[in-house]
């Protein structure tokens, strides 16, 4: 067994720095928040209009006016700030968010990202993902190394519609950590109990070790 989902999130959390403003995507990325050291101040942005996102509410704290970008009920913190959608995306698109961590359907070796639709099958929409990957200073993808049917998700080229071209900086999967530099993919870390052969077998993308 390589990295578990928890370990992937823990690894992703190591990329955070004190004082960072971070946007976490829906799903697994949300869990990264659980691995921030107490000594560190990280402020989470929710693109529907909030900085300083708190944990989920207790049953008696639920407030219909207070949700995250995944439409889940959440809470505020002492440092929270609310703003409108235009202001929120001015912040995102203007490069003020240090880091975005999000999921993916496919990532190409040049940093192309696909995570918003499967033509004829799944039409979720891009939501704020296209804005995030275009505007945020650094983009980390957190995803399973392979799809449920075993097919590779790290590809030579994405065949699904792109969310952004050449936008991914780092990919963390259950098998390792990759970085995209100068349009090329580098394997920087191998998860424990994972061999280079295994990762080669399960990856379509060309990567430099």
């Amino acid at each position: 067994m390589a990295w578990t989902r928890d370990q992937m999130c823990e690894r992703a959390a190591l990329e955070l720095e004190d004082g960072f403003y971070v946007n976490l995507g829906i799903g697994m990325p949300t869990l990264v928040a659980n691995y921030i050291p107490e000594s560190m101040t990280v402020t989470f942005q929710s693109e529907n209009g909030m900085l300083g996102m708190g944990p989920f509410p207790l049953d008696n704290e639920v407030d219909a006016d207070l949700i995250n970008a995944g439409k889940q009920t959440i809470t505020e913190l002492p440092e929270s700030v609310y703003f409108d959608s235009a202001t929120s995306f001015a912040m995102i698109r203007g490069g003020h968010i240090d880091l975005s961590i999000l999921g993916a359907l496919q990532v190409a070796q040049n940093g192309d990202l696909a995570n918003w639709m499967i033509p004829g099958k799944m039409v979720k929409g891009m939501g704020g993902a296209m804005d995030l990957v275009a505007g945020v200073r650094r983009v980390i993808v957190l995803m399973d190394h392979n799809a449920k049917d075993g097919s590779p998700k790290l590809l030579k080229e994405c065949d699904l519609p792109l969310t952004g071209a050449g936008v991914v900086n780092t990919v963390i999967t259950d098998l390792g950590l990759f970085e995209v530099k100068g349009g090329q993919l580098y394997l920087s870390e191998l998860a424990p109990n994972t061999s280079l052969d295994e990762i080669r077998d399960r990856t379509e993308a060309e990567f430099i070790q």
């Binding site: 529907n48 944990p55 949700i67 889940q72 235009a86 704020g128 804005d131 275009a134």
Partner: protein, 235 residues
């Protein structure tokens, strides 16, 4: 003084004379949070047809803008997220509903531009994706950007927490979302508020949207404020 000219008694009277087939409506809200729920019902009851609706989402099957999908009053949506609305996805895949996907930030900025007299602006969002199909790209300082056009509507329907009789608005928490930028981009803007107060009851430094953008305002009775994904922690 006559600022109460803007005040109406309910959704139906506030929308009187403003609805027509084929019009474009900008609808505030994100998911089910901060949606103009009373006006959506009134629009359904009016029977107006062939609407183009710009809204980040399209409600759920039986609440919010989903109510106008049920009755097929919407011809086209301009949205960033279909999400879990089955009827939306189904009508789109069937070809019954046109859908113009806008990245969420592009949708918000297009409305802000529409209200601000900016006919077009450039953004990096969507470069190299299907969003750029048919749009101009242009390089500035070595980076490629898309040109996006402003969005305006015949009518903006928005919701606020508190509003005074001059139309000055205060929003609450994340219910602010698209309500503010969309209010500025409607040729006419109608607002439903949870609390209608007298002019002077809101601090001038704490008003989120000045009444100049608001043509009509009414206090909604008993907001349902349905929650799409109630998520709680145990301790």
């Amino acid at each position: 003084m006559s600022e109460s000219k803007k005040v109406f008694s309910d959704a139906k009277s506030a929308l009187d004379g403003l609805l027509s087939d084929g019009m474009t409506i900008l609808a505030g809200g994100f998911g089910l949070c901060g949606i103009p729920e009373h006006m959506i019902v009134a629009i359904r009851e009016s029977g107006v047809q062939n609407l183009t609706v710009a809204s980040n989402n399209c409600g759920i099957d039986d609440f919010g803008l989903g109510l106008l999908l049920q009755t097929k009053q919407i011809k086209k949506m301009i949205s960033s997220y279909v999400g879990e609305n089955k009827l939306f996805e189904e009508q789109f895949l069937n070809g019954d509903l046109e859908l113009e996907f806008n990245p969420q930030g592009t949708l918000a900025e297009r409305c802000r531009a529409g209200g601000a007299g900016i006919p077009a602006f450039y953004t990096k969002t969507g470069v190299g994706t299907v969003i750029s199909d048919g749009k101009e790209t242009r390089d500035f300082d070595g980076e490629t950007y898309l040109m996006e056009r402003a969005l305006t509507g015949d009518l903006a329907i928005v919701t606020a927490w508190k509003g005074d009789k001059a139309g000055n608005l205060v929003f609450r928490k994340t219910a602010r979302n698209f309500n503010a930028p969309m209010a500025t981009a409607g040729k006419v803007c109608v607002v439903e508020v949870e609390q209608l107060v007298e002019v002077g009851e809101i601090e001038p430094d704490q008003i989120h949207l000045p009444g100049i953008y608001v043509d009509r305002v009414f206090e909604g009775q008993s907001f349902e404020k349905r929650i799409e994904r109630r998520t709680i922690r145990e301790t």
